[in-house]
Subunit: 458 residues, 2 copies
C-alpha cells in the first residue's frame, strides 16, 4: 500500500500538468468551435465550389477551375505557402445524355440511367437485349454462359437498409457496380445495368466508378434508379422476355494533367514534419459534389484557417490538401504519398473528411495500439461537441497511401444516415448541406489537428 502512495506522489506533478494542459486545450477548442459557428467560412466556400465551379470530374474544365479556386482561397487567407502538385489523371467523358427504356412487348417505358465512370459507350444505336436479373456473382455464375450470352445482366441487390452505418451497407452492394460488368462479360453478356447504390427508393440514378478486369471483354455498364430497378424486376417477373434498351456515349481519353492543391502553415519547431487535413476536389460529372467531397475540401481549408486566425503557432507544418481524382483513380492520393516519400517529408498524421458534411460523431483511427490509445485519451475534449466515438472506423481513401510511411490516419466520421441519398448523384447539391453541420465538422478537424500538433502521436 505504501508503494501505491509513493507512485501516486511521484506521478502527481505529471497529472497536474496534464490536467492543466487539458484545461487550456478545452478553452482553445471552445474558441475553435465558437469561431467556426459564428465566423466560419466553410459554408460560403462550399457555395462557391458547388454553385460557381460546379461538377469537377478529373480532367474536366470544372476540375481545373476548382484547382484555381481553392488555390486562390488559401492564398487570400495568407497561408504561408500555397502550391500545386502535378498529377496525371484518367480522363473519362460522359458525352451526350444517356437514354434507356424497359421494353415489354410493344410497351416502352423510359427510365433514368447514367453510365458508370470508366464504362465504354454502347453502339450508336444503343443496345436492346433480353435481361437476366441476379443479386450475386455466384447466382450469375450458376446461370452459366448459355443463359447469359447475348443478354444484358441486371444486378439488383439492394443496399441493406437495416445497417445503421450506411457505409457498411454500401460496402455490401458496391461490388456489383465496380466488378459487375466484367463478371457478366466473362459469361458472354453484352451489357450490364446495376441498381443504383443508394438507401432511397427514388428516380435518381447514382453513378460511380467501374473497372474492367483484364481478359474479360469490355461491355457497356450503367446504373438505373432504384425505382427503375424495382419496375424492371417486376416487369421481368410478369414477362421474362422483357428487353432493356440503353444508349450511352461515354469515352475515355488519354490521361490528362491535373493537380493536388496544397496550402500550409509552416511549423515553428519541426518544419520538416507534416500533418495533413484533406478532402478530394474532384466530383462526379453529374453532381455539384456538395457532400462528396466539396464538404471535405472546404472543411480542410477551414480547419487550417481556424488555427491561423486564432493565432495558433504550429509545431509541425500543417497542410490542407485538396486531392484530385479520388473518384476514378486515386491518382492524387498516390502522387501525394509518392512525393512525400521521394522528398523525405515525414508525415506524422493525416486527417480526411470524405463522408459528407453532416453532424460529426467521431473520428476513425488507423495507427498502433499506443497511438490509438493516446488519441482516444482526448475523447472528453470532443464530447461537448457531440463527438462521442473516437477510434471507431478507419482513415480514408486519399490519405491511405501515406499509411505505408507510418503516418497515423484519421477519418472524420459524421452521421451517415443521409449520405447515400445523394452520393454520386445529381441531387448532391449545395442546398443539401446544413451550415452548422458543415462548420461543426470543420471545427472538429481543427481541434484534432491542434491536439495532434501539440501532443504528437507517440
Amino acid at each position: 500500500m505504501k508503494k501505491t502512495i509513493l507512485v501516486v506522489l511521484l506521478l502527481a506533478p505529471l497529472f497536474a500538468t496534464a490536467q492543466s494542459d487539458y484545461k487550456e486545450d478545452s478553452i482553445f477548442i471552445r474558441k475553435i468551435f465558437n469561431t467556426a459557428l459564428t465566423d466560419g467560412k466553410s459554408y460560403e466556400m462550399l457555395r462557391h465550389l458547388t454553385l460557381n465551379v460546379g461538377p469537377r470530374l478529373s480532367g474536366s474544365a470544372g476540375a481545373a477551375k476548382a484547382v484555381e479556386y481553392t488555390r486562390d482561397v488559401m492564398k487570400d487567407e495568407k497561408f504561408d505557402h500555397v502550391f500545386l502538385q502535378n498529377v496525371m489523371v484518367p480522363h473519362w467523358v460522359r458525352g451526350a445524355k444517356e437514354q434507356a427504356a424497359i421494353v415489354n412487348g410493344k410497351q416502352k417505358v423510359s427510365v433514368p440511367l447514367v453510365a458508370l465512370g470508366g464504362s465504354i459507350a454502347t453502339p450508336k444505336t444503343g443496345i436492346t437485349a433480353g435481361v437476366i436479373e441476379v443479386k450475386t456473382f455466384q447466382e450469375l455464375r450458376d446461370l452459366g454462359t448459355e443463359k447469359v450470352k447475348g443478354r444484358i445482366v441486371f444486378f439488383n441487390r439492394p443496399m441493406d437498409t437495416t445497417k445503421l452505418n450506411t457505409f457498411d451497407a454500401y460496402g455490401g452492394a458496391v461490388d456489383q457496380r465496380g466488378a459487375g460488368a466484367s463478371e457478366a462479360a466473362k459469361l458472354g453478356a453484352i451489357g450490364c445495368i446495376v441498381r443504383s447504390v443508394t438507401t432511397r427508393l427514388d428516380d435518381v440514378p447514382h453513378t460511380g466508378s467501374m473497372r474492367y478486369a483484364s481478359g474479360a471483354p469490355m461491355i457497356p455498364a450503367a446504373a438505373i434508379s432504384t425505382n427503375a430497378a424495382e419496375l424492371l424486376s417486376k416487369t421481368l417477373k410478369s414477362n421474362p422476355e422483357t428487353q432493356f434498351f440503353f444508349k450511352q456515349n461515354c469515352e475515355t481519353f488519354p490521361d490528362a494533367p491535373s493537380h493536388n492543391v496544397i496550402g500550409e502553415l509552416k511549423g515553428s519547431k519541426n518544419p520538416a514534419e507534416f500533418m495533413v487535413v484533406g478532402g478530394h476536389l474532384d466530383s462526379w460529372d453529374i453532381a455539384q459534389g456538395a457532400h462528396d467531397d466539396g464538404a471535405g475540401c472546404v472543411q480542410s481549408i477551414e480547419a487550417v484557417r481556424l488555427l491561423k486566425v486564432l493565432g495558433y503557432k504550429p509545431n509541425n507544418t500543417l497542410r490542407a490538401v485538396m486531392y484530385m481524382n479520388e473518384e476514378n483513380g486515386l491518382k492524387g492520393g498516390i502522387a501525394y504519398a509518392d512525393s512525400a516519400k521521394s522528398k523525405s517529408e515525414k508525415h506524422v498524421a493525416a486527417i480526411e473528411s470524405d463522408r459528407g458534411g453532416f453532424t460529426p460523431l467521431g473520428f476513425g483511427i488507423v495507427g498502433t495500439a499506443a497511438q490509438k490509445a493516446k488519441i482516444i485519451g482526448w475523447q472528453k475534449l470532443f464530447k461537448p461537441y457531440g463527438l462521442h466515438e473516437i477510434g471507431v472506423g478507419g482513415g480514408g481513401a486519399d490519405i491511405g497511401p501515406l499509411g505505408q510511411q507510418g503516418t497515423v490516419l484519421l477519418g472524420l466520421i459524421p452521421d451517415s444516415q443521409r449520405y447515400f441519398d445523394y452520393h454520386h448523384a445529381a441531387n448532391d447539391t449545395f442546398d443539401k448541406v446544413s451550415r452548422r453541420e458543415l462548420e461543426l465538422g470543420a471545427a472538429s478537424m481543427a481541434a484534432m489537428l491542434y491536439l495532434l500538433d501539440k501532443y504528437g502521436v507517440n
Copy 2:
C-alpha cells in the same frame, strides 16, 4: 472480502436473469429497428400529412382534416380502439398576406415579415413609424417612455449560434417573440417587430406564438427574416430616422371545437394503466409542419404500429396521442391530462417527440432519481442505434401536464443542428425530412415504449 464474495454469489442469479432478459430485449429491439428501416410507414404517413393535408393551425380546416386523417390511419392499422377527445382551441387567422418595408427617406425596401400568432392586425393602412432597436428588455426599459412612445420597437437579439444544443439557443432568444410586444407597449410603442428566431441568416421569416400581458395595450407584433433584421439594423445605424412600415390582417375568433386523436392497444395485464407516445397535430398556418410536428405524430403512430405488427402483447394500454394546439395554447395537452385525471386513468409513462424528425441521439427523462436510474440502465440497448444520451434533457410540452399525476415523462432527443432552420417557417416542408432519420426516431420510441411496458418504471 468474504462478505463481498457472498454478496456477489447471492446476486449472481439476479444478474443472470437480467442478462438473459436483456438478450431477448436486444433481439426484439433489433426487430423493431429492422422493421422500421425496411417496412416503416412513418415517411409515407408524413408525406400525406404534409403534402395532402398541409398546414393545420388550430381551428383551421387543415387541422380538421389532420384529425380525420390520423384517426383513419389508426383505424386502418386496426388499433384496438381509436377515438377523438374534444378540445376547445384558440382560433387565430392570419388573413391576407402581410406587407412590410424599411423606409429610409425616399427609399423603400420590401422585407419578408409574418405576423406572430395571437397578434392583432395593424390598421388597414398599416403602421409606419420610427424604429427603436433593442436586444434586451432591460435595454428597452432603460430607454424609457420618452424614446419609445409612438415608435415601433425592434427586438434584434440573435440566437447564440455557439450553443451546441440549438434548443438552448432558442431558449435564450424566444422571450422577445413571446413577451416583446407587451414590454414595448407598456412604454408606449405602437408596434413590435422581432428578428426571426432561427440559426440561419436568410430571407425566411419565422412565426410563433406571442401573448399580451394583462394591463398592457395590445399592439401588432410580427417577425422579420434575419437578413431583413440585419439590413434594418444597418440602415438604422446610418440613419436613425429610418422608419418601418408593416401591415397585417390577422384576427382572433372565438375558441373553436377541435380534437385530440387517440389510438390504443389494450393492455393484457393492466388495461387501466396507460403509456403514451405523442406528438402535436397542429402546425403553424404558413408551414407544412413536417418537422414541427408532423414527424412526432407519425412517429407516435408508427411506434405503436411497430409493436403491433411484431406481435407484441402489451401489459399496459399503449396509446398514440395526436395532441391539438401545442403551438398557440397547449389546450390539447391540458385536456388530455384533465381527462386522464377525471377518469382516474393511471398514466405510468409518456413519451413525446417534438424536436423534429432528425437522427435520434437519446431521450430526456423527468421522473424520480430511481426511475431515471432504471431507464438509464437500458442505455446499452439503444447504443447500437446511435442513442448515447439517455437521461439528458426533459420531456415535452404536451405531456407536461401529465407530470402532476406522477407520470414519468420522456422526450425523444434528436440531433438539433437543423431544427431551427425550419421551425415555424414556410420551409418546414416534407423534403427536409430524411426517411431513415424519421424511421430511426420512430423505432427508438417503439423500443422505449416496449421497455417501459415490459419492465415498468418502478
